[in-house]
């Protein structure tokens, strides 16, 4: 199969690289595996192991405060990723299908949350919410306050670049002539968008939703400044890490969340690849 004079690596070098690859995979997965093992350990999170048990899972699934935090994260992740996907479809359509002045500025603005540290963005939202509330209390005797709505607002901003980046490649591959055919058959712009473009984009829409959802569900830095008295799952998890007796339960729930998120993201990625392949090569715009 391979010739002896492969210019990339000799047989020995290839074996060495394969070994290195294996080592890195071990390095990446071993800590997660250790954690998963402890979720079944009948004792605290320390060696030696005590024996097999499922009662941490049972405890976790009956812990109302913990479940409340999980529920909040589901709500925040659902809301923020729905908004981020909707905005992402609009931005991607404008960037791929339209020609307009200021396109570089728009794309710079949309993608800049990728490089702004979440810490800086989180405190910025905290400051502006506080400042607005100050004005509102002084003038009208009311205030907005922090909470899940504030977290959603922040998560939409940081998810948006990912949804745009996920939707754009498929949009580039979709033939424009499908839209034009719909227009020629009498559909107006909105009908074309709703009945032709969106259904064709569905695979990318679904996977961008899943990416945004996982991002928001796991996001700690922004949520820690904005969730106020309504901690999301990562904020709750972080706060409880100081309570050693709760650790096994947290590890158990985290293992469930971990498995679920891996399944979600991998299936999203596979689905997107399959869809992109089905539509074939990109068509010239």
């Amino acid at each position: 199969m391979r010739t002896a004079d492969d210019p990339a690596a000799s047989t020995g070098a290839r074996r060495l690289l394969a070994l290195f690859f294996l080592g890195l995979v071990l390095f990446l997965y071993a800590p997660i595996a250790v954690l998963a093992v402890f979720s079944f350990n009948d004792g605290d999170v320390a060696f030696p192991l005590q024996g097999f048990t499922l009662h941490w899972y049972r405890d976790a699934l009956t812990n109302a405060v913990l479940l409340g935090a999980l529920r909040r994260s589901v709500v925040v992740a659902t809301a923020s990723s729905l908004i981020a996907v909707a905005l992402g479809v609009l931005v991607a359509t404008a960037l791929v299908r339209r020609r307009f002045a200021g396109k570089p500025i728009v794309s710079a603005l949309v993608f800049s949350p990728l490089v702004v540290p979440y810490l800086v963005f989180g405190v910025s939202l905290l400051v502006i919410f506080t400042a607005v509330d100050k004005v509102l209390t002084e003038t009208m005797g009311m205030y907005i306050g922090l909470g899940l709505h504030a977290v959603v607002v922040g998560h939409v901003v940081v998810s948006l670049p990912y949804t745009v980046l996920t939707i754009m490649p498929l949009l580039e591959r979709l033939s424009r002539s499908l839209d034009e055919a719909a227009r020629d058959l009498g559909a107006d712009a909105w009908q074309t968008f709703r009945r032709v473009t969106v259904p064709l984009l569905m695979p990318a829409i679904v996977s961008s939703f899943l990416i945004a959802f996982t991002l928001s569900f796991d996001e700690y830095a922004i949520a820690s400044f904005l969730s106020g008295t309504q901690p999301t799952w990562p904020v709750y998890l972080f706060a409880q890490l100081r309570v050693p007796s709760l650790l096994p339960q947290l590890v158990a729930v985290s293992s469930i969340v971990l498995v679920a998120s891996v399944i979600l993201v991998v299936s999203a990625e596979v689905g997107r690849r399959v869809a992109e392949r089905r539509y074939g090569a990109p068509t010239p715009a």
Partner: protein, 298 residues
């Protein structure tokens, strides 16, 4: 025919212009209101141009002056964090490069599956992966237990620098970011034209020479992108040091976090946050063109 085209052309483009505005008004409004405005407000606040609390001072450069020229502890913390992030970035790139090389140039058919294997941990809970190390490096964790068991250390006498040290913070950060960095390096090597390597070989270059003179320079954009993608988020890191760093691993990001949540000196906090943002923006302006390459390639 000619008449219709002439009438149709400008009408359509005007409709399209309104359509573009319609497409972008929602997303842009969101970004301006909840991204540009808050960050701009904090920038103004750091100069005292706006006031929130009665204790806030008026417009002045004092806080910036104090931070930049006053030999404040925060400047020292900043450089300490730069050194830590740089170390992490270098280590991570050195770890990811052989993997990217192996996947792009040696593993043929299964390379995308194997790549997914490397990237998958990045998609799992960040806090959880940090927590895992806390368990492994803890006083009764995997490492210390093993040392007790092998009688290399007496029980109850854990290795002191294993947890709550700068070393731990850097180890965990490297662990967290390796999967992410493998991607741009892989992409740049995967796009490499193999016939260039063969040509180098035909012209008499050995594999090492080919690597140093052809492969490495051509993968430079990927390496740069990888470096920036680790350095930018780790320089503003505050969660990992809080969990595994102790006082020795305290970073610049922790100072910002504490000023806003504990110290309640929001004006100094704003100065520190804006300085961090400036540093990141400057980095992106210098290295941005290589980072662009990656998004085109991906």
């Amino acid at each position: 025919m000619v008449w219709t085209v002439a009438r149709d052309g400008p009408r359509r483009s005007r409709a399209e212009r309104w359509g573009t505005l319609g497409l972008l008004s929602g997303p842009l409004a969101w970004l301006v209101l909840f991204f540009v405005l808050p960050v701009g407000f904090v920038a103004a606040y750091s100069f005292g141009a706006v006031r929130i609390f009665p204790t806030d001072g008026g417009p002045s450069l004092a806080d910036w002056e104090q931070f930049l020229l006053g030999r404040s502890i925060y400047m020292g913390l900043f450089w300490k964090s730069v050194a830590m992030s740089l170390t992490v970035s270098v280590v991570v790139v050195l770890l990811a490069y052989p993997v990217g090389y192996y996947l792009a140039l040696c593993a043929r058919k299964r390379k995308y599956v194997l790549l997914l294997l490397i990237i998958a941990p990045f998609l799992t809970s960040f806090l959880l992966r940090v927590l895992a190390w806390k368990v492994i490096l803890g006083d009764r964790g995997v490492v210390n237990s093993l040392l007790y068991w092998l009688h290399l250390r007496p029980p109850g006498d854990p290795v002191p620098w294993l947890l709550y040290s700068q070393f731990t913070v850097m180890l965990v950060l490297a662990y967290v970011w390796v999967p992410f960095v493998a991607l741009p390096i892989f992409a740049s090597l995967d796009n490499l034209d193999r016939s260039l390597l063969e040509a180098a070989g035909d012209l008499g270059a050995g594999r090492w020479r080919t690597f140093l003179r052809v492969t490495l320079p051509l993968s430079f954009p990927g390496v740069t992108a990888a470096f920036v993608f680790v350095f930018v988020p780790t320089i503003g890191e505050f969660v990992t040091p809080q969990l595994v760093g102790g006082t020795a691993g305290y970073m610049y990001g922790n100072a910002i976090n504490d000023l806003f949540t504990k110290g309640l000196d929001w004006q100094s906090g704003s100065v520190l946050a804006m300085f961090l943002l400036l540093v990141v923006v400057a980095l992106m302006m210098i290295f941005g063109r290589w980072v662009q390459v990656r998004s085109v390639a991906a």
